[in-house]
Symmetry: C2
Subunit: 281 residues, 2 copies
Amino acid sequence: MTLTTISTNLSHGGVQGVYSHASTSTNTDMTFSVFVPPHEDGETLPIIWYLSGLTCTHANVTDKGEFREACTRLGVILIAPDTSPRGENVPDDPDKSWDFGLGAGFYVDATQAPFDKYYKMCTYLEKELPELIVSSFPVDMSRQSIMGHSMGGHGALTIGLRNSDRFKSVSAFAPIVSPLNCPWGEKALTGYIGPDKSNWREYDACALIEDGARVSDLLVDQGSKDNFLEEQLKPELLKSACETAGQKLTLRMQEGYDHSYYFISTFMADHIEWHAKKLKA
Amino acid sequence: MTLTTISTNLSHGGVQGVYSHASTSTNTDMTFSVFVPPHEDGETLPIIWYLSGLTCTHANVTDKGEFREACTRLGVILIAPDTSPRGENVPDDPDKSWDFGLGAGFYVDATQAPFDKYYKMCTYLEKELPELIVSSFPVDMSRQSIMGHSMGGHGALTIGLRNSDRFKSVSAFAPIVSPLNCPWGEKALTGYIGPDKSNWREYDACALIEDGARVSDLLVDQGSKDNFLEEQLKPELLKSACETAGQKLTLRMQEGYDHSYYFISTFMADHIEWHAKKLKA
């Protein structure tokens, strides 16, 4: 596997890099960013994976996430993958809307043509990218956590729940907690996975918890002025699923905050500190 | 004077706003951003002005500057103006290059046609915008500081030096310290002010210091891997002018840093803390 370096910049004492590679999962080139804080030669560091929301690439959080100061202070690597395959050949939403297709991979392995040839974000994140990371960066793969925003919060919750042996902790900003129960999820999972909803449950955080999946700890921040709160995000469904199942959850409603990076950046250091405690316990 | 609110977002406990107004200085609409940290009703707060570099608008630092955490912690307002007038009627560089015209106002009052009708960034920042700010935000105008990046560092230094009674402190990231002695300055000041270089001295930090202008304190951070360091920025000229004149200056060469917001954001909290000490002394 060959990694192409697109850019590296010194920032907060560490190296913020952007890289690309030819992905065998998605049959496209994939781009991602990695921040490696200062460290001793030969030292390996714990990782936090950050999964982004609809329309985003690696660049949104890399530019606006305000994570580097905390990563340097706590000695944690942050990896930000893209949200879908991209390229001229990659099929997009027929209506070109922003909630399906390019920038909207929903962290699933598509089974429906024509998407199944490219939209394999689940395999990409669970198998391919970790192998590339371990061969290219000073990472301690025994200490990983995962977080994400909105669609990426859905990704973090579901990947975290399906791989509880891999992740020490899971957190999210304004996540889609149940694609089975919101219009974004209905559209995306019908398109990628097909109409049989029994196949959706492995990609639905609430259903995974109902079906027995557990993680050691969950932290969720949700802005009270988020435009998508009532129709799409529905944190009460996660709260209810966790209460019923006895899954530990800290759900914080953040008064007055919206869905933007102004919200995410406000609580980013909190999340990194929370993960770092688990990663270093 | 009427202010139009383009957007407001809660962030780090305060309000990040973007506003526009019809400017009488530039004969265009002008856009700027203001971050107001949480404060008591009726309380007024000190201000830091942040002037941006070539090609930038208010948005670059607002997105990538990582200033809000420090502003909230220290109770300081940050204002980020645009770098030039903009609009269909506004004359641009005949060659459409990025170092003159739109996004490159150099914080001067142009005297040369056709630029003199619009490019009045000096009057805009020294007179018009402060009057608008005082009537619209909870500011304590007796406590102001100024900083900037690159062309905006030039703006901060020269506006600071010409208005030492207004600013408690002046700082810059990778500033153009002498338009008289670099290609960017040659091009811009010839275009805006004309070829008589005696008219440039009020827009040249080194010349202002040579001619007797002083500020209480200067802080400059400069990355050692900045692509523009040797040809355009030349911090040694500022160091020499300050030494000769007895002007206090802290010039920090930051090993390995470049000209980008990855550099600026690394040292932003440092600068805000430094200014806040002076503003609250």
